[in-house]
């Protein structure tokens, strides 16, 4: 599964943290935390959800590059092409 195919799945995990989000609220190439009200607890819970959903390890040093929805999807796709 490539990054574009992963996008709705990753967005679904994000919506569990921020249920007020609607389709189209998040520009995938823009900074996520500028668009969505996520504190550090929300952010950690989101990344844990991505980790559990797609089975990818995310170290704290990776956080800095995971700043857009697209980059998160690319990160997952590179580590788990099956997307499951």
């Amino acid at each position: 599964m490539n990054a574009v195919e992963l996008r709705p799945l990753v967005f679904a995990e994000l919506r569990k943290i921020a249920p007020e989000l609607e389709e189209g609220d998040v520009a995938p190439d823009k900074l996520l935390r500028d668009q969505v009200d996520l504190d550090s607890m929300d952010w950690l819970n989101f990344l844990i959800a991505v980790h559990q959903r797609f089975g990818v390890e995310i170290s704290e040093s990776d956080y800095a590059v995971l700043d857009t929805l697209d980059r998160i999807c690319e990160f997952v796709a590179a580590r788990n092409p099956q997307g499951s």
């Binding site: 249920p19 007020e20 550090s40 607890m41 950690l44 990344l47 844990i48 980790h51 390890e57 704290e60």
Partner: protein, 383 residues
């Protein structure tokens, strides 16, 4: 026989609406058991009992709004015979289905359904609004067509907008009372965080993702440990006198996504290992935002901590949540110029603040507390 009263769930709660009983007459309860769910302006709260015994009588019907302190049930002590003592409160309360004198009738829903006109019900179906989530403004709480139209104009169906308005009123009442009654003083201290940040990065690197710790938990633990030497900051002001608390139950200010905030407690924080404190914090935030808190969490805080660093602010000078006597604030942890051994370096720092009640403590004590907090944060491995 023991009276079970609706407990206070914070300075901003005068009354609550009984939503549901979780026990029935004859049930045996122990300390910490949830006996009822009560809706407050901030959340639906699980009300716990701190007594053991057998439920003798439930004195209030679900749907009834009741003032804090109202006897809502009676319990028999372990070993006490059911008919041994005529329960005075129950006697007073027994004559009517909603027997507490001060209780106000909420909308009288037949078998759990709110009264609603056919036109309003039809319109609710058209708009996808659940009438059960709409506050009725008609006779006996009936949901009117206008109520449905109003609810239908909101992006999400339900009572969230009403909840937000009620929460704002409650916060306004508590904060107005605080500013009216409590002579605040305010102090700030810039604390270097490089040791804490480095220690936390190393600690998290050896933990699994699900066990990682946030800096917010580190700060909470440091506050709790520092408070052990400052009983004049950790307690409550009640009936004209200050009552210090032996235990440190930290209230944590948690913003609600729909607006407003709650500040429920994590109990006995000094005794919690950091990993457990983080789990407690995560659980509390999750339940606070889901509107599922326990009565003890709402009534127990002995001091509150607010962290607005997430919002990007340098520092916060918070308003004390009565009847507490102090509140600690944290701003953003960020690299700032810092002079050490005569050299300027970029170092992660945080501005910690203290707002405290001048009836109980003086600035000198507050300053000593912030110094102790700073010292604790320089030894993160001991937290």
């Amino acid at each position: 026989m023991t009276d079970f009263k609706l407990p206070s769930l914070g300075a901003d709660m005068d009354e609550g609406k009984l939503l549901e009983w979780k026990v029935k007459p004859g049930d045996v309860v122990k300390k910490g058991d949830v006996v009822a769910i009560v809706d407050t302006t901030k959340a639906a709260v699980d009300v716990e009992t701190w007594q053991e015994g057998t439920v003798q009588a439930l004195l209030v019907e679900p749907g009834t709004t009741i003032p804090v302190g109202t006897v809502i049930a009676t319990l028999l002590a372990p070993g006490e015979a059911p008919g041994a003592a005529a329960p005075s409160a129950a006697k007073e309360a027994a004559p009517s289905p909603a027997p507490v004198a001060a209780a106000r009738e909420a909308p009288a829903p037949p078998e759990g359904r709110k009264p609603i006109s056919p036109a309003a019900r039809k319109r609710a179906a058209e708009l996808g609004v659940d009438p059960a989530t709409v506050a009725g403004s008609g006779p006996h709480g009936a949901v009117t067509l206008e109520d449905i139209e109003r609810a239908g104009r909101k992006p999400a169906a339900g009572a969230a907008p009403d909840r937000a308005a009620e929460m704002r009123k409650a916060i306004a009442a508590a904060m107005s009372r605080s500013k009216r009654e409590i002579p605040h003083y305010y102090l700030a201290e810039t604390i270097p965080m490089q040791r804490a940040a480095a220690w936390l990065a190393a600690e998290n690197a050896r933990r699994s993702m699900t066990d990682r710790i946030l800096m917010a938990a580190v700060q909470l633990k440091a506050v709790a440990l520092a408070l052990k030497d400052f009983p004049d900051l950790n307690g409550t002001w009640r009936e004209g006198a200050y009552v210090p608390s032996q235990a440190v139950h930290l209230g944590v200010a948690i913003s609600i996504r729909q607006g407003g905030l709650v500040a429920p407690a994590i109990r006995d924080v000094p005794e919690l290992p950091l990993g457990e404190l983080m789990k407690s914090l995560a659980d509390l935030v999750k339940r606070a935002r889901a509107g599922s808190l326990k009565s003890s969490e709402m009534s127990d805080p002995t001091i509150t901590v607010t962290n607005l660093g997430e919002a990007g602010v340098e520092s916060t000078f918070a308003v004390i949540y009565p009847p507490q006597a102090a509140i600690v604030g944290f701003g953003r942890v960020a690299a700032r110029p810092w002079v050490e051994a005569g050299e300027i370096r970029a170092v992660p720092t945080v501005v910690a603040t203290l707002s405290a009640d001048h009836r109980v403590s003086d600035g000198h004590r507050g300053a000593a507390f912030l110094a102790e907090l700073s010292r604790r944060l320089q030894e993160p491995e001991k937290l």
